[in-house]
């Protein structure tokens, strides 16, 4: 029979996964709204973000209460500390979805420049990183988490490439600067979402294996 504490830990995990699924919904919807210049869809993002914020507070309170009342150790302690950090990362991802949705209103009056950016391939990689980070947490899968971390540099490269393409495009078509700037912002937000997915995976590796890989900590030992 599971102890009450184990049930509480499972409950924390369930809540974090629900929050993660809301975050994914928020990011994909914001990108759909961007692609289709759909203001109504963009407006839904702030409502989802409100729910994400509520989850963040509830999960943080749950973790603090469990630490205070059960003084967890070992894998249980690592799990709760990891959840507190992942919780924070997910909430910030939700904020980036809001930022992306905010760009939609700037694009409404602009001409379409989809063909000159590789932002949509960046979107695919970032969404894949987000899903894999959440699944690695769900399955306590450090190996999968490690692979996500390795993808971060790919997204950094795509962000740099997008910047270069858009800057060149703006130099060649100054009248399109207004249409290009929102995409610069979107690229920056996507890159931050990839960073946060990487953070989540670093915490998954800590939870699963007690290894600290961030900031190349293991190499410096």
């Amino acid at each position: 029979m599971d102890r009450h504490f184990d049930e509480e830990l499972q409950n924390v995990k369930k809540n974090l996964l629900e929050m993660a699924s809301l975050v994914e919904e928020s990011i994909t919807k914001s990108l759909e709204a961007l692609e289709k210049k759909d203001l109504r869809k963009a407006a839904e993002i702030s409502e989802i973000d409100h729910r994400i914020d509520k989850f963040e507070i509830a999960i943080e309170e749950q973790c603090i209460e469990l630490i205070a009342r059960h003084q967890p150790v070992g894998a249980d302690l690592r799990f709760l500390v990891g959840v507190i950090k992942i919780n924070n990362d997910l909430e910030r991802m939700g904020d980036h979805a809001v930022n992306i949705a905010d760009c939609v209103s700037f694009l409404i009056e602009q001409k379409h420049i989809k063909s000159v950016t590789n932002i949509w391939s960046m979107v695919r990689v970032v969404i894949e990183m987000l899903r894999n980070s959440v699944e690695s947490f769900m399955n306590n899968d450090a190996e999968r988490a490690q692979k996500v971390c390795e993808r971060d540099s790919v997204v950094d490269g795509m962000r740099d490439e997008t910047m270069r393409i858009l800057l060149t495009y703006m130099l060649e078509h100054p009248q399109m600067i207004g249409a290009a700037i929102p995409f610069l912002l979107v690229a920056k937000n996507l890159e931050r979402i990839a960073d946060l997915s990487t953070n989540i995976c670093e915490d998954v590796i800590y939870i699963a294996q007690a290894r600290v890989i961030k900031h190349h900590a293991e190499e410096q030992k």
Partner: protein, 249 residues
């Protein structure tokens, strides 16, 4: 390393209470021994001052070395060992004497009778456990009139009066409330600068708070011995995790 055991086995008649224990206790650190009731942790503690010798039917194999001397060697001076290795018990065991006479008891046994010298030892020992200021005007009062926490401090002062090197503590806070426990823990952290401390405790949080090294025992075996940080964040053995997380034991 100040204390080292090698292939240590201990039997009570036919029952084997310690099984092949290999352990190295470092100088000036607090070593915590944890484990469920009956796992052998108190037996292990009593090995270090040979208190098990007083129990009928006890047999020991393997070696226990303190500073390169095998304490189970037939030529080893047992009285000197008891002076070097002091012990604090679960319940304060102050003698029904005055505060002064409690602390002066050991030095008197060791032949010190000069009043001035004894007074110096008593004052120094009480100061070391942070009792002198409280008790300096009540040194002739009965030790049994003190609170449980102060009696436990007094017992530690009584040990320090004979200048030991190692302090063995067997559940020293189990009879104390949380405030008194906190004070004794602070005292232990202070004392480790001069003494090597080995503490047996049921209280996992206490081991986590004060121990530098922690050993987990189960059914007479030392399952895991490591830095407290490692034991409490990433124990190597599933059984250690099971115990410290309260999943068994």
């Amino acid at each position: 390393m100040i204390v080292r055991t090698a292939n240590l086995n201990l039997y009570y008649h036919q029952f084997q209470a310690l099984i092949n224990v290999n352990l190295a206790i470092k100088e000036n650190v607090i070593t915590g021994i944890i484990g469920p009731s009956g796992c052998g942790k108190s037996t292990l503690l009593r090995v270090f001052n040979r208190m098990n010798d007083l129990i009928d039917g006890v047999r020991i194999t393997g070696s226990v070395v303190i500073d390169d001397e095998d304490i189970y060697s037939p030529v080893f001076d047992l009285t000197a060992l008891r002076k070097r290795v002091g012990m604090v018990f679960q319940r304060p065991n102050a003698f029904p004497l005055s505060v002064f006479d409690n602390v002066a008891y050991g030095p008197r046994v060791w032949g010190i009778s000069d009043k001035k010298t004894l007074t110096e030892i008593v004052e120094r020992s009480l100061a070391a456990v942070d009792l002198f200021n409280d008790l300096k005007d009540y040194l002739q009062r009965s030790a049994l009139s003190l609170s449980a926490e102060k009696q436990q401090r007094l017992c530690i002062a009584r040990l320090l009066a004979v200048e030991p090197e190692i302090l063995l503590m067997d559940e020293p806070c189990s009879a104390l409330d949380p405030i008194a426990t906190g004070k004794i823990e602070e005292l232990m952290i202070m004392l480790k600068q001069k003494y090597t401390i080995v503490i047996v405790t049921h209280n996992m949080q206490q081991a986590a708070r004060i121990a530098d090294d922690v050993g987990f025992m189960l059914l007479g075996e030392l399952i895991e011995f490591d830095k407290a940080k490692k034991i409490f964040t990433d124990p190597a053995d599933e059984r250690t995790f099971g115990y410290i997380s309260g999943r068994f034991g």
